[in-house]
């Protein structure tokens, strides 16, 4: 299993722990990630507000690079926002020949061209469908039957493109968690919006959205996310929202279950993770039977 890895800007900056834990977990599950050479910003949430063609040309540049340097590989993105931007470039350039020509006219400035042959996958899609719950379960060293986890899928891996999960009743994240025997919280906020960039631009509007997710998770020991934007919104404003709740990246929890070292997972690095939570983890675990 080989993938063209697109970490995206957040994973190289504030979400470093998501990058490290993704690479460590994928390696120990037998997947090989090769970073797309010279990848650049996918446009984040701002490019579409500036220029429509820019919001396609920026991600398409990365698809063109993947196609040229890592032919035949699917692009793997752990950040949901990057995933959607890259996926949108894939879908739109395939849907209309005119769009691909327009994009390629721009990419020509860098002597690049996109032929339409790349498939963009989110990390969760690869975990559920390529690696699969069975293989994950077989690799797990510590199960967490007493750890109650709220699976937070967020928006952009579910909508608008229905690719690998049911947007109204997502199950992919829960299936991966169940492979670690985690006690998965049955809740309705797993596909609610975290406020996205409104947390920075319209704080008062985003805060109730953040609070609603945190409140809905109140019975859980922690929330698990698959997106640095969701992660940051759910972590950063807990004081203002009036609720404390550890928020972990899926790959951090998987790394714990797989027995990977803390320096590759950096769980203690998360804003919302308290020493108490870390101390409570061993009590919630059960060793896998050695066969």
């Amino acid at each position: 299993m080989n993938y063209a890895y697109y970490p995206g800007c957040s994973l190289k900056e504030s979400a470093r722990e998501y990058d490290l834990s993704t690479q460590a977990v994928m390696e120990s599950l037998g997947a090989k990630l090769t970073e797309i050479p010279d990848w650049t910003c996918c446009g984040a949430s701002a490019a579409e507000a500036v220029d429509d063609l820019l919001s396609l040309a920026l991600p398409a540049r990365n698809l063109a690079l993947a196609e040229r340097h890592l032919p035949g590989l699917d692009v793997l993105a752990p950040c949901s926002a990057c995933y959607l931007n890259l996926r949108r470039a894939q879908e739109e350039t395939n849907r209309e020949r005119r769009v691909r020509d327009e994009v390629n006219a721009m990419l020509g400035a860098e002597s690049l061209s996109y032929g339409g042959g790349v498939t963009v996958r989110h990390l969760l899609d690869v975990l559920v469908n390529d690696i699969g719950p069975e293989r994950i379960e077989a690799a797990v060293k510590h199960f967490y039957p007493l750890l109650k986890v709220a699976p937070y899928s967020g928006c952009q891996i579910l909508r608008p493109y229905r690719v690998f999960d049911d947007p109204e009743h997502p199950t992919a994240l829960g299936r991966v968690l169940k492979a670690m025997y985690v006690d998965v919280l049955d809740w309705k906020a797993g596909n609610a919006c975290c406020g996205a960039s409104l947390a920075a631009t319209k704080h008062k509007v985003a805060l109730p959205a953040i609070r609603a997710v945190l409140d809905a998770a109140s019975e859980a020991d922690c929330i698990v996310t698959v997106c640095p934007m969701c992660q940051m919104n759910l972590e950063l404003y807990q004081k203002e929202a009036g609720r404390r709740m550890p928020v972990l990246y899926l790959t951090q929890l998987m790394g714990l279950a797989l027995g990977l070292p803390e320096q590759l997972l950096r769980v203690a690095h998360n804003l919302s993770v308290t020493p108490d939570f870390l101390r409570s983890l061993p009590d919630k675990a059960a060793e896998a039977a050695t066969t």
């Binding site: 800007c9 984040a44 500036v50 063609l53 928006c155 947007p167 996205a196 960039s197 950063l236």
Partner: protein
């Protein structure tokens, strides 16, 4: 006759927008709206909007650009795509919202500052190739443009600093986007 002059200055951009291809495209996007209200009922931020999504599409279809482009609704969308997913007519509503936002940037004076924020983002990735922080960059730009904002951001920013998650824009990334972005922003017939 300064008043006539000002009047013309004020209405000229609106006229230009009313006849623009970009607005025409938005009209095509939402022309099939049957006013069922599913989008509004699904929108997590409808409570904070001066016009609900359903009302917005109605005004677009009735040619009320001025009201549409002056509405704060365009800046309350968190691009969650729930409306797009659920619209029984399958209309691309989140994209329509983004297109209107672009038009509003060009039109209204009071949104100039917001437009400046997005332009800063573009300038930033143009020179760095990668964003030096996504969410955090927003804070940084907003804080640097509005003297009242740093106060609101002090507490969260300190939390991030404490965990070593806040970085100042550093040396440029490897890939440079200069040529591509110039090509896009200076292309012929850019709306």
């Amino acid at each position: 006759m300064p008043s006539a002059e000002t009047e013309r200055e004020k209405t000229a951009p609106l006229l230009r927008i009313a006849r623009s291809k970009a607005l025409e495209t938005v009209r095509e996007m939402v022309a099939g709206c049957m006013q069922c209200g599913t989008c509004t009922a699904s929108c997590p931020n409808a409570w904070a909007m001066d016009l609900t999504p359903r009302q917005l599409w109605r005004l677009v279809n009735f040619g009320q650009e001025e009201e549409v482009l002056a509405s704060g609704t365009l800046f309350m969308c968190s691009t969650c795509y729930t409306c797009t997913l659920r619209c029984p007519r399958n209309l691309p509503l989140t994209s329509a919202m983004a297109a209107l936002k672009r038009l509003a940037f060009e039109h209204a004076h009071k949104t100039r500052r917001r437009a400046a924020f997005y332009r800063s983002f573009v300038d930033n990735i143009r020179s760095y190739g990668r964003v030096k922080e996504t969410a955090l960059m927003s804070m940084y730009f907003l804080a640097s443009r509005d003297p009242k904002l740093p106060l609101a951001f002090t507490a969260p920013a300190l939390r991030l600093l404490g965990k070593g998650k806040l970085h100042w824009p550093g040396r440029p990334g490897r890939g440079s986007l200069g040529r591509l972005m110039d090509a896009v922003m200076n292309r012929e017939g850019r709306p």
